[in-house]
């Protein structure tokens, strides 16, 4: 079965079909825009995943392989059923113990290889033994030098309606480079430094963007956003390109961008909008302060060590909700929800019995080296969770000994097993910092790692 940018193949879990899977992946990857090297990476991931799943997935159902074009990347997804699955090699901190006498050595080496050659790996569980294992390979884009040229704007400022006409890719790239040149690295999405990628992301709907222009049609400001979970949008900006003394036109651009942004997302499925990296140009009175993160590690930035506020607003009236919480977390949540006037039923979760857990846990790691920021998300609980988390922290700190990244961990409070992990997080040096309402299946708790030496 196929659609214009997606191809689905169902295969029996039998290694005899491995060539069919890899050949399909390689062919689809090239059709979907990857270069030769990217296509081989994707094909390798398919080979390793398929071989692994042939051994460990349930045999009663076929393996469903979906290859899709995501604009700036190609994704492979395997949907399979398994009682208990060990995908520990997908952990960022995973290493294969060559002395281990287990027969799984080869299997895990393959997974490890696949996770390292692709740009992102993730695992989703539907909770009924059905898993979706995904990997993505990005298209290659050239890096460009940020633009630091001072800009003076001329009136009037306007924000063209993107509903009527898509933004011109050249203008978007120009604005992305201006943003990269005018704002600290941490305030900018990575794609701003590869502006063609940013423009393609907008064209493919991975990002939505609004551009303010001045009277001479120069870029005056930029604001972009993307979905975060099914019910939230996360925005970046507004980025304002006004180097005049009073910045009156820049402020006008910021207000127009925010107003138009809210008008555009107000009648969508999103319940709220938030930003973990708002710029100082967010107009006052439009967003609420959720809390702040202490960003130690802005490489080369003057603002190192300054608290970074996270901003938020509902797009609809809040009808309340429920979250799971370990007893140790409850005081923090109660305080935060009360301060923010959020109505939440806090449901007490009991610690999961270790003996009932699978042996190995899995954490998703998103590491942005440029911004010096790592975000961890628990994907699977396991008996080794504490050790695995500590290994992740250690591995991330060793990434750059002189300039270790800040480490955040997102807990989805709609999942009791994730809420039950809280004492393990605190024991590992994580502290709760803020709540992102509706950012996951429910609210997300953002914890930040505070090294013992800080």
């Amino acid at each position: 079965m196929h659609s214009e940018n997606r191809l689905i193949l169902e295969l029996p879990p039998d290694v005899a079909f491995l060539p069919a899977a890899t050949a399909t992946a390689e062919n689809a990857a090239e059709v979907f825009g990857l270069d030769r090297s990217g296509a081989l990476k994707l094909s390798l991931a398919v080979e390793e995943f398929f071989a692994y799943l042939c051994r460990f997935a349930g045999r009663e159902e076929p393996l469903r392989l979906t290859l899709s074009q995501g604009g700036t990347f190609v994704r492979v997804a395997f949907r399979f059923r398994a009682g208990e699955v060990s995908l520990r090699a997908l952990n960022f901190a995973a290493s294969v113990d060559l002395d281990e006498e287990s027969g799984s050595l080869g299997d895990e080496l393959g997974l490890l290889l696949a996770s390292r050659t692709t740009d992102r790996c993730s695992l989703e569980s539907s909770g009924s033994g059905v898993y979706v294992l995904q990997a993505e390979v990005d298209r290659n884009y050239p890096e460009a030098e940020p633009l630091r040229t001072p800009q003076t704007l001329c009136p009037p400022i306007r924000v063209p309606r993107t509903e009527d006409e898509p933004l011109h890719a050249g203008l978007l790239q120009h604005a992305a480079l201006l943003a990269a040149g005018h704002y600290p690295v941490r305030s900018c999405p990575n794609s701003f430094f590869r502006p063609a990628r940013f423009a393609d992301m907008v064209a493919a709907g991975q990002y939505q963007a609004l551009l303010a222009q001045d009277g001479a049609d120069k870029p005056a400001g930029l604001l972009c956003w993307r979905n975060s979970g099914p019910r939230a949008v996360v925005f970046s900006g507004p980025y304002i390109f006004d180097d005049s003394a009073d910045q009156a036109l820049g402020q006008e651009a910021a207000r127009l961008l925010v107003e138009r942004f809210l008008s555009m997302v107000a009648r969508t499925e999103a319940l709220c909008a938030f930003s973990e990296r708002p710029t100082p140009d967010v107009p006052k009175g439009w967003f609420e302060r959720l809390g702040s993160l202490t960003l130690r590690n802005e490489a080369g930035a003057e603002s190192a060590g300054k608290p970074q506020a996270a901003l938020f607003r509902h797009l609809r009236e809040d009808v309340g909700g429920a979250v799971w919480a370990h007893a140790d977390l409850e005081p923090f949540l109660t305080r935060q929800y009360d301060r923010l006037a959020f109505s939440r039923d806090i449901l007490r979760v009991e610690p999961t019995r270790t003996s009932r857990l699978p042996q190995h846990s899995l954490l998703a790691t998103s590491l942005d080296r440029r911004r010096g920021l790592a975000i961890l998300r628990p994907l699977l609980d396991g008996q080794d969770f504490a050790a695995n988390l500590a290994a992740h922290v250690q591995a991330l700190r060793e990434e750059d000994v002189d300039n270790a990244p800040d480490i955040l961990l997102h807990l989805d409070l709609s999942e009791p097993w994730q809420a039950a992990l809280f004492p393990t997080l605190t024991a590992c040096g994580f502290q709760p910092r803020l709540i992102l309402p509706h950012a996951g299946a429910s609210d997300l708790l953002v914890c930040q790692h505070v090294p013992a030496d800080s």
Binding site: S263, A266, G285, E288, R313, R316, E317, D318
Partner: protein, 379 residues
């Protein structure tokens, strides 16, 4: 292999987001931990229905619930015909005016057609068009009012319906006779013009154009009215459309029969026959509420828009949803306006004095608090 359900769904439905209504009052009171709730969010008439309608409701015998209502609201249409001096066949009654909006769009639009309305108005015109697969051309308001020139400019050969909410919800602005006449003359019968007059009973200005009269000269005009607002029968859901007989005949073909419940038909008919004093009393209540509330907004230095209708809109010094949550904690429910594309505004229904005073007390507290918080953050 079975298809994923999404593959069976048309793209305009997949991309459409269903409206999520407010939770019921008891649930909201539980969630916000309050023992009372002033409903200032839906522009309901807090006086309740006219006395004759109340008597009908009181006297409704439960066994009558077992009997189907009149499928086409026979007696109610007769009463409407009598009131407006028209053939009852020129009326079509629906389960609230939302149902007749859908019937009109289904009757006149086909693939490739479009409707035109404002971007900041009652959202149902836009929603019904979009989930039916038709383009909704949304024209920005001009000084909080529908912009006739821009609406005319947006028309093309596939424009089938222009929706004019007069007075507009949520701004309360309205076109006077001259503006309306000019607009209709320039539409020149090329499309159906819907005049949604849900709030017309709140206007006593002689310059307000009467849709019932306009449709006699402009055969493409249809008028929506409702028993939900002035007549305070929102819980029974009765609205209607009136137009030329041939126009209504077409709309009837797409309209569901038996959709209006029996009690609603009886109560609406009774309300229509006993509305004179009720309308005066309601207008008086609304005027008094306006007298209380507007000076307070001025004193707080908050911009507001107060036109016709039983509501006002006020700009908030913080996110409207934050103001909503803080007011809900005080037992006061208002309507946030982000969904109306007026971020950082709330709409407040105008009701009896005690509720307005409770609202103002809570609102002052909240505004003071958010201003102090903002100053604290700046410091």
């Amino acid at each position: 292999m079975s298809l994923p359900i999404a593959e069976l769904v048309p793209s305009h439905i997949r991309s459409f987001e269903a409206y999520v209504p407010s939770r019921p009052d008891p649930e909201l009171m539980r969630v916000y931990k309050v023992d009372h709730l002033h409903r200032l969010n839906n522009n309901e008439n807090a006086l309740g229905p006219p006395p004759a309608a109340q008597r009908v409701i009181d006297g409704f015998e439960p066994p009558r619930s077992a009997i189907y209502p009149s499928g086409d609201c026979f007696f109610l249409r007769q009463a409407l015909g009598e009131r407006f001096g028209m053939d009852p066949e020129r009326f079509l009654v629906g389960n609230g005016s939302c149902e007749v909006i859908a019937s009109v769009i289904k009757a006149f639009c086909e693939k490739g057609d479009n409707i035109i309305t404002a971007d900041k108005t009652f959202a149902v015109y836009e929603w019904v068009a979009e989930f039916s697969g038709f383009e909704a051309r949304l024209i920005p308001l001009l000084d909080y009012a529908f912009d006739p020139e821009a609406m005319l400019a947006a028309m093309d050969g596939r424009t089938k319906i222009l929706f004019v909410c007069n007075p507009n919800n949520p701004t309360g602005t309205w076109w006077n006779r001259q503006t309306m006449e000019r607009f209709l003359a320039r539409v020149d019968g090329r499309a159906i013009v819907v005049l949604d007059e849900a709030y017309r009973e709140y206007v006593d200005d002689p310059d307000f154009p009467d849709g019932m009269e306009l449709m006699e000269r402009h055969r493409n005009v249809v008028v929506f009215r409702t028993f939900s607002k002035m007549y305070a029968l929102a819980g029974l859901r009765v609205g209607y459309v009136c137009g030329q007989k041939d126009v209504i005949d077409y709309i009837r073909r797409t309209h569901i029969v038996y959709s209006v419940n029996g009690l609603g038909q009886l109560a609406a008919r009774a309300a229509l026959g006993d509305d004179a004093e009720h309308i005066l009393a309601t207008r008086s209540m609304v005027a008094r509420a306006r007298e209380i509330i507007l000076p307070a907004f001025r004193e707080l230095e908050l911009p507001y828009v107060s036109g016709a209708g039983n509501f006002v809109m006020v700009k908030t010094p913080a996110s409207d949803s934050l103001i909503y949550r803080q007011l809900m904690r005080r037992g006061i429910m208002v309507r946030t306006m982000t969904g109306f594309r007026f971020p950082n505004w709330i709409r407040v229904s105008l009701v009896q004095e005690p509720a307005m005073r409770d609202f103002l007390a809570g609102f002052r507290e909240v505004v003071t608090q958010v201003r102090e918080d903002a100053e604290g953050e700046e410091a």
